[in-house]
């Protein structure tokens, strides 16, 4: 125990230390005002760091890149972000625009026409919520078909039926575990759905999407699933595999066709498999399936304002991230076609060009519609369940697709309010 003098010393010491804590807390807060904090995933983090070497995108500010181990980790961190912990800018997929815009966690962008004109309207639409743009489009997330030329040959399959025939005839002799691997799950299965006459929503004559209608239960889709994907027992004929790391079997030469994105190209090249890139062929010669064309974006957060760097973060997004040179450099790292139209013209890499060509047949991935779950579950989970029921459980194709279509229309109707 202390005497009176001792207590005085103790209180003075405690007070001094609390004060020093205050000073310590205040000092970095001031320093942080000159820092733009960017959150991104494990793929873009290193790329961004490389890109920023020797550059000062915003005069007087440093750019601090924090990369998370994967997109899920990034999203988890973003979900629990607060004004104290949140970033000034986040690089993520376009789906963030809807949730971030709705919650107020993202700040809307006001853009000069000189910047707007460098991107397609669909790119801006993908990054919008209720008509307001929330992010700068960075690159196109899309897929292409890679086929093993040692197995199938160098010439591309002309029809979907040609791929199924190849699988049926060579399954036993070549030890094939499947014919077609949609590595990216139901998202990456979209070219197969559309090649067989399915898809999410219908299209008007002028080419605009019409979310009041769906082609997921079209007569053609029902007939083609039965013809190409089912065996005599009414269950999967083994041709079509969704996700489950089937890419490993493709790399091992046990699956001839693979649908995936540029992010897997390094692993594919390392496997030593000789391949070519193209689009998934339709049931008729000259027709093709359509992959989703989603966008990654750079979003300025509303936390930037709390941190006193809103103007600088805007400048970084609009002047630097949207810039054609930046985007051309970004695309070379991740094998993703750039969203900036001027940058896209500069693409020379043949793999990237192949993916971009396949992606040019893509349809806009409108997250506001696809993520909506008014019908009980979103597009991705619902279609996964549908194909599990049809291929694994042997459910009736017509009734299953009709039930799914009804759910999808509920979702689309709810999601359309957010476009």
């Amino acid at each position: 125990m202390f005497n009176a003098k001792g207590r005085l010393v103790a209180v003075a010491t405690a007070g001094a230390l609390i004060l020093s804590g205050y000073v310590a807390a205040f000092a970095p807060a001031t320093a942080a005002n000159k820092k733009i904090i960017v959150w991104t995933d494990e793929q873009r983090g290193p790329v961004m760091r490389t890109l920023l070497v020797g550059k000062t995108p915003v005069k007087g500010y440093t750019i601090e890149i924090k990369s998370y181990s994967n997109l899920d980790a990034l999203n988890a961190a973003w979900n629990s972000a607060t004004a104290a912990t949140g970033p000034d800018l986040i690089i993520s997929n376009a789906g963030l625009a809807a949730s971030g815009g709705k919650s107020g966690k993202l700040a809307p962008l006001t853009l000069p026409s000189s910047v707007k004109n460098q991107f397609s309207k669909s790119a801006w639409a993908a990054l919008s919520f209720k008509g307001k743009v929330y992010g700068v489009p960075l690159d196109v997330d899309t897929t292409a078909m890679f086929w093993n030329t040692k197995l199938f040959g160098k010439k591309s399959p002309k029809t979907f039926g040609a791929m199924v025939d190849y699988y049926t005839k060579n399954k036993a002799s070549k030890g094939l575990t499947a014919g077609f691997c949609a590595q990216e799950g139901t998202w990456g299965s979209h070219p197969v759905f559309t090649a067989l006459g399915g898809g999410a929503w219908a299209y008007k004559k002028n080419g605009e999407g019409d979310p009041t209608k769906t082609v997921f239960n079209s007569a053609a889709f029902k007939a083609n699933i039965t013809k190409y994907l089912l065996g005599t027992d009414g269950k999967s004929n083994g041709f079509f595999k969704i996700g489950g790391d089937c890419i490993n079997d493709w790399k091992a030469g046990k699956i001839p066709f693979l649908n995936t994105g540029g992010w897997n190209v390094d692993g594919i090249n390392a496997s030593g498999v000789k391949y070519k890139i193209g689009s998934v062929p339709g049931v008729k010669k000259g027709t093709f399936g359509s992959p989703w064309a989603g966008y990654q974006g750079a979003f300025v957060t509303s936390y930037a304002k709390n941190h006193g760097v809103a103007a600088a973060a805007n400048q970084f997004a609009v002047n630097f991230m949207a810039n054609a040179t930046t985007q051309a450099q970004l695309s070379t790292f991740g094998n993703r076609p750039p969203a900036n139209l001027l940058a896209a013209k500069k693409v020379k890499n043949p793999v990237l060009a192949g993916i971009a060509t396949a992606g040019s047949r893509g349809v806009l991935q409108l997250s506001a519609l696809l993520d909506a779950n008014a019908g009980g579950s979103n597009w991705y989970d619902l279609t996964g369940d549908v194909f599990n029921k049809i291929l694994v459980e042997g459910a009736a194709v017509g009734a299953t697709l009709d039930a799914a279509a009804a759910k999808l229309l509920q979702n689309f109707a709810a999601g359309a309010a957010n476009l």
């Binding site: 207590r7 010393v9 103790a10 209180v11 010491t13 405690a14 230390l17 609390i18 004060l19 020093s20 804590g21 205050y22 310590a24 807390a25 807060a29 005002n33 988890a76 973003w78 979900n79 607060t82 004004a83 104290a84 789906g95 963030l96 949730s99 815009g101 709705k102 919650s103 107020g104 700040a107 809307p108 006001t110 853009l111 000069p112 026409s113 000189s114 307001k132 489950g244 006193g308 103007a311 600088a312 805007n314 400048q315 609009v318 002047n319 997250s367 779950n373 019908g375 579950s377 979103n378 989970d381 369940d385 549908v386 599990n388 029921k389 694994v392 459980e393 039930a403 799914a404 759910k407």
Partner: protein, 521 residues
């Protein structure tokens, strides 16, 4: 004489001051950081904790406090505060789109309603001050090349020759305009985006960042007197709908985003009880949660007890067997779960391979895809993870049962089974009952098991199910609160958590009373 962890006298005093000082330093830092981001409640709680610690260790506080203080602080921070926060949030409309405060929402709605003109007019810009000392902009229209001086009074078109341009061709000076220096610009910081200079037709020029300004109009005008927004373009009036959003007074479903976190007690609770979309899955999940917890205790206890009885008899290599039996307990649970997940894989898992090889099944079982196989799998895996604990406590309890009771029963002619049923089991249950209740409560909240093994699935997406077949209340609350970023509902998840808290609380209370009763016995 002062004594502290082996030190005495002045060194002990210095060490004490140093330790308290470190706590004060960290606490002071945390308080300032909390205040810096407007978290006054957190700052207040931290301040109370800091004062408490200083009182305990620097003044004449009761001695027990000196030992209990760290525990009390951790109890407050990691147990009481989350409970209070969860209880509070269960009374709020706290979901995607309703997360921030009303003041922040009003500010954000005003920002969101700023629109560029149809042409996307932008200006190259120099910031300065006019003759009166107010901020002014020297602008060059990027589309038509027109040069303008914008002041707070309005814009003036400058004739060629009345201004000078810099090396980039951007106007830099004109009469009555003094450009800001770089140092002044840096000091301006974010103030730059708040500047508005009237243009024509109620539009205004606003700097986007240093060097670039943009022409904007504000569609939604906020009226603080009656707390409404009015749209200039449509005339629609948006008023507080009492549920955390501004809604069109003529069209209730037309709401403005973002909304704010609003008190809506008891909607989250009544929703769980009466909303068919929520009630159905909630009751189904509740039934499975109870069944899962009960079956887990029953199966693990049965196996654990059987093994304990078997090991209770002297057999060769008993120590080795005992060591092997507690191995699953020694391996981290999450690791075991991930291994089991792989073993149950439909295509590559060893379980299906064995079942096919021994001829029990012909085609692989989709363990994760069907509700009952997934539930069976969970019970089996939990049996593996849980039986060592039951084996250990049963072994201990068996030692505590006097052997003369069994000997007396044997003399009276009771069979082994009768002796077990009539003597051993009742006595064991009396001893172990509180532990079985605790195990039930643990499994009631066994999030890891569900999350790592099945993720709550399978879920019949086609039927629009909101909860999976193996979801228990805690995983259902997690999925409701976290898993879908587009539709998170923290308020509802808090209400579900509160239900769980009440159920587990009642069980714990019952268990405690039972323990007390046993003590008296």
């Amino acid at each position: 004489m002062y004594r502290l962890v082996g030190f005495t006298g002045t060194p002990a005093l210095i060490l004490k001051l140093l330790l308290v000082g470190i706590v004060d330093f960290v606490g002071g830092f945390a308080i300032v950081s909390a205040l810096d981001v407007g978290s006054t409640i957190i700052a207040g709680v931290l301040l109370v904790i800091l004062l408490f610690i200083n009182w305990v260790y620097l003044f004449k506080s009761p001695t027990p406090f000196k030992f209990l203080a760290p525990g009390i602080v951790f109890l407050l921070v990691f147990v009481l505060v989350p409970i209070v926060y969860t209880v509070a949030m269960s009374g709020f409309n706290f979901r995607t789109g309703n997360e921030i405060s009303k003041e922040q929402a009003i500010e954000q709605i005003q920002i969101v309603s700023l629109s560029e003109d149809a042409e996307g007019t932008a200006f190259d810009m120099a910031i300065g001050k006019d003759a009166t000392g107010d901020y002014a902009l020297l602008l060059k229209n990027q589309i038509n090349g027109e040069v303008l001086l914008a002041t707070l009074q309005g814009v003036t078109v400058l004739a060629e020759g009345t201004y000078e341009v810099d090396e980039l061709g951007i106007p830099s000076s004109t009469e009555g305009f003094t450009r800001l220096t770089n140092k002044e610009l840096n000091q301006l910081g974010d103030e730059i985006v708040n500047l508005r200079f009237p243009y024509i037709d109620e539009s205004f020029v606003s700097p986007l960042f240093d060097g670039l300004a943009i022409l904007l109009t504000q569609d939604l005008i906020y009226n603080p007197d009656n707390d409404t927004f009015v749209s200039k373009s449509t005339g629609a009036v948006y008023a507080d709908n009492g549920n955390g959003n501004y809604a069109n007074t003529q069209k209730k479903k037309d709401v403005l985003y973002p909304g704010w976190r609003n008190v809506n007690f008891p909607q989250n609770f009544t929703g769980l009880m009466f909303d068919p979309e929520l009630r159905g899955p909630f009751i189904r999940v509740l039934i499975w949660t109870v069944a899962f917890a009960f079956l887990s205790v029953l199966t693990t206890f049965s196996l654990g007890l059987a093994l304990a009885i078997a090991m209770d008899k002297p057999i060769r290599g008993r120590r080795i067997y005992r060591s092997i039996l507690i191995l699953p307990y020694a391996i981290p649970g999450f690791l075991s779960l991930l291994i089991w997940r792989g073993m149950f894989n439909q295509d590559f898992g060893i379980i299906n391979r064995i079942l096919v090889d021994i001829g029990l099944i012909e085609t692989n079982i989709a363990w994760f895809e069907q509700a009952w196989t997934a539930r069976l799998m969970i019970i089996l895996v939990n049996l593996w993870l849980g039986f060592p604990y039951m084996y250990l406590i049963s072994s201990g309890a068996l030692q505590a049962i006097p052997s003369d009771l069994k000997e007396a029963a044997a003399i009276d002619g009771a069979s082994s089974f009768q002796s077990f049923r009539m003597i051993t089991l009742p006595l064991l249950l009396q001893i172990l009952f509180p532990l079985l209740i605790a195990s039930f409560a643990f499994n009631f909240n066994n999030f890891n098991m569900i999350y790592l093994l099945t993720g709550g699935g399978p879920r019949d997406e086609l039927a629009g199910e909101r909860a999976g077949a193996t979801d228990i209340l805690i995983s259902y609350a997690y999925n409701t609160a976290i898993s879908n970023p587009a539709d998170q509902n923290f308020g509802l998840a808090s209400a579900i958590s509160l239900f769980m808290f009440i159920i587990v609380g009642i069980l714990s209370l019952w268990s405690l009373r039972r323990t007390k009763a046993l003590e008296e016995f």
